[in-house]
């Protein structure tokens, strides 16, 4: 009886081709590609077309675009410093992409782009590589002072250097899995509650009690997920700023 209505909470994360077939090659257009493209269209709509008027007194869409712009601009200036403003466009790009990918995945039946470590991992690896290269280009060998804590007593410095080195290289791991894990976990929990809500179809006697409870739980989880989607985009961006700060000012 129950087998007719089985849901798998992880099924929603399956990458499947849009136009028939089952194999996924690098050029195959999948639901992943579709929702990434929708996200980028939203960014273009907001930041390019919405801000096209360039009015002194901004309209509705231009105000929204200006809020985005000035929010990330202030973040880069406050966390990283004035000398990081040349890298501000990159940080804004990351914030917009993650923000729209996160929030668009909250639309029912949409696909959560950022729930895949393949997506967030690539973002994090690009940040890691560019920040490391930037650190060596800007500071030369002085960049290695990041691992040599001058403020510590001399006898703990070698041990600290090992710890700092490890924590430097696990950055892309924690950076990417934090975002992917948060998105994946939230969507899976909502799917589990959705499974409970469908119980009234199988057994009305039990469902009368369970279904209203799980519908309330979905509503509450959805509110939490809206918060998580925005906060995780913010955290991903602010950590990029922190790493950028380490590259520009490596000495402790």
């Amino acid at each position: 009886m129950a087998s007719s209505l089985t849901f798998h909470p992880m099924e929603q994360f399956t990458v499947s081709p849009l136009f028939g077939g089952h194999e996924v090659h690098w050029y195959t257009i999948t639901n992943q590609t579709l929702w990434m493209a929708i996200g980028i269209c939203c960014i273009l709509l907001l930041l390019v077309i919405g801000a096209r008027a360039r009015a002194l007194v901004p309209g509705r869409s231009q105000s929204a675009a200006e809020v985005f712009y000035s929010f990330v601009h202030n973040m880069v200036r406050d966390v990283t410093g004035e000398d990081a403003l040349p890298y501000f466009p990159y940080v804004l790009t990351i914030f917009c992409f993650v923000f729209f990918a996160n929030t668009l995945s909250l639309i029912p039946t949409s696909f959560a782009v950022t729930s895949h470590v393949a997506v967030t991992g690539l973002l994090a690896i690009i940040v890691f590589l560019s920040v490391t290269i930037l650190g060596f280009v800007k500071n030369g060998a002085h960049f290695l002072e990041l691992f040599w804590v001058k403020s510590a007593p001399w006898y703990v410095r070698p041990a600290l250097a090992v710890i700092e080195l490890i924590s430097y290289f696990v950055r892309p791991v924690s950076h990417s899995i934090r975002l992917a894990g948060n998105m994946m976990a939230g969507h899976a929990v909502m799917e589990v509650f959705a499974t409970f809500a469908a119980l009234i179809v199988i057994s009305p006697l039990v469902g009368v009690f369970v279904t209203p409870l799980s519908l309330a739980a979905i509503t509450a989880m959805y509110a939490l997920e809206v918060l998580v989607a925005v906060v995780q985009a913010y955290i991903f961006t602010i950590l990029t700023c922190v790493y950028l700060k380490d590259a520009l000012h490596p000495s402790h």
């Binding site: 973040m75 791991v173 899995i177 950590l239």
Partner: protein, 78 residues
Amino acid sequence: MNPELLKMGAYIGAGLAGIGSGVSAIGVGYVAGNYLSGALRNPSAAAGQIAYLFIGMAFAEALGIFSFLVAILLMFAV
């Protein structure tokens, strides 16, 4: 070695790695609680420190993420 036994060990390990997630939640709660107690002492300075709140939370959360990663690896990769 017996593959069933190996699978059992991997699942027990994944469950034990879940402890790490819970302990890192204590760390995140510590960061938020200390921020709040500081913010209530000096509310005018609270708004400027909210970036550090999220950075501290992110770093405390990182170790929980590693235990989550270990659990996932034990369940699906071993």
